[in-house]
Symmetry: C2
Subunit: 276 residues, 2 copies
């Protein structure tokens, strides 16, 4: 998927919403437990109820890996189902991988070939050669962690170097030379929206994947104020607030309701900016 494909999708749907498929087995509605594959059934119903409102889905690998080979199969079925509903949807593996070259190549193969993802989240600690193997795939994307939404983000990401840059800024300055805005995006937590202006100065054109709206306390209006660029440049993720909005038989309907509220807010803000 290309940069322009994503921008076109944002415009045509009036949305820059991503739903995080953090499908935690223990939180599934009880009535699904008799299904052959409760994880896939849940995902399928969430997808059917929301695919017209979103531009992206983001399965979080941990929730599938915790179920072993069965979880992997549920994930494969989920990806095929998304593609069958709308082949233009951008699918992100939230995997936060990062390893040396020959291992990174194997991860790239896992996510871009064995599984049909468009993008994978990658952690920067091991530097350029841990990221570049993912960038050798045409129309596939690295989404690099920069500034995360959790408390521990302050442990290392906010440390200041002797060049008077914070570590997350060093990550931006260096990594923007590894790829381009056509194959790299950055993760910036919504709880750090006050930092978005700084970040936009360093990478004006890249898309940002912004988690932390909702359950983690991030605010959509602030994210847009500081992060929106001339091509939108934002993919805002919400997970638990949407997929676990209800634990009853109406879970998919309630998920749609939550997604629609966010999508409306997104449409409105893009309309005010004459982007759509």
């Amino acid at each position: 998927m290309t940069y322009n494909d994503i921008v076109e999708q944002v415009k045509s749907k009036g949305s820059f919403l991503c739903i995080g498929l953090d499908t935690e087995y223990n939180k599934l509605p009880k009535h699904l437990m008799s299904e052959d594959d409760p994880i896939f059934t849940f995902n399928r119903m969430i997808i059917d109820a929301t695919y017209d409102l979103v531009i992206a889905y983001k399965p979080n690998m941990a929730f599938y890996e915790s179920l072993g080979a069965d979880g992997w199969k549920s994930l494969e079925k989920t990806l095929r189902h998304i593609r069958s509903r709308d082949k233009n949807i951008y699918i992100i593996a939230d995997a936060k991988r990062g390893d040396i070259g020959n291992t990174a190549s194997q991860y790239a193969r896992a996510f871009f070939e064995t599984l049909d993802f468009d993008a994978v989240t990658v952690t920067p600690y091991m530097g350029e050669d841990s990221v570049s193997p993912f960038l050798s795939y045409k129309n596939k994307w690295v989404i690099l962690l920069v500034l995360t939404s959790n408390k521990g983000a302050s442990d290392f990401q906010m440390l200041e170097t002797t060049s008077n840059q914070k570590i997350f800024e060093e990550v931006l300055f260096r990594s923007r030379q590894w790829g381009s805005n056509e194959n790299m995006m950055y993760v910036v937590g919504a709880t750090k929206s006050e930092m978005l202006s700084n970040i936009r100065e360093i990478i004006p054109e890249h898309f940002l994947l912004v988690p932390g709206i909702g359950a983690q306390g991030g605010n959509l209006e602030e994210v847009v104020r500081y992060g929106f660029n001339e091509n939108c440049g934002l993919i805002v993720n919400s997970s638990r607030n949407i997929i676990f909005a209800s634990s009853g038989k109406d879970f998919a309907e309630k998920a749609r309701h939550q997604a629609l509220e966010l999508k409306k807010e997104m449409s409105q803000t893009m309309s005010e900016r004459h982007f759509i």
Copy 2:
């Protein structure tokens, strides 16, 4: 597995060798390709040929994930086979995971419950709350990336902060308070042995997992000179140089030969230090 269990195993086997099961499908000996599960057959034969020489095995998750659900099953069988050969062997998931709290808990479940690993490698970029969920399991271990053996290690790990510490030193200073030498180890690449003295000053008692011997150019003698402590404190890993020593029918025999050479060197150095 406890700290003392590991020390006892080092003493009784006269070895601190770990074999990395980076079992790359395309590098398997051709004659195994007709097997039902070539990956598992390869691993089984490597394990049978080496388990008396090693204290640990370290499957690298990327090589199994790249094969999807089938790879996951090969991995499960490999873990069971190691346990059946020697229940005291320490098994490390080389996964380099790192994510926010509720996701980290799912990864911990994946590696410590769904799969029966003793330890998992974790990346520090997201800080304390991305590591602590792994530390809540009794007798399970986090092995935190500190200073890796690849070229990209210099991109961020070696940056200096305004407190005159390198980032990898900041990781050591902070993280040593998150757990203890009873549930944390650190990854320090063998190609960085000149840094081991510094590291030993900050964490004198922790075990270090040292990759990079052999294929990546690290030197065992230097690692021991700077990294050995009163309880050995080293687990030295070799992967490709052992498991792919031959691509013929004698691959397991050649793997044993390579492992035995390293084990002898380890026994000798421990004997010279009157540790065994």
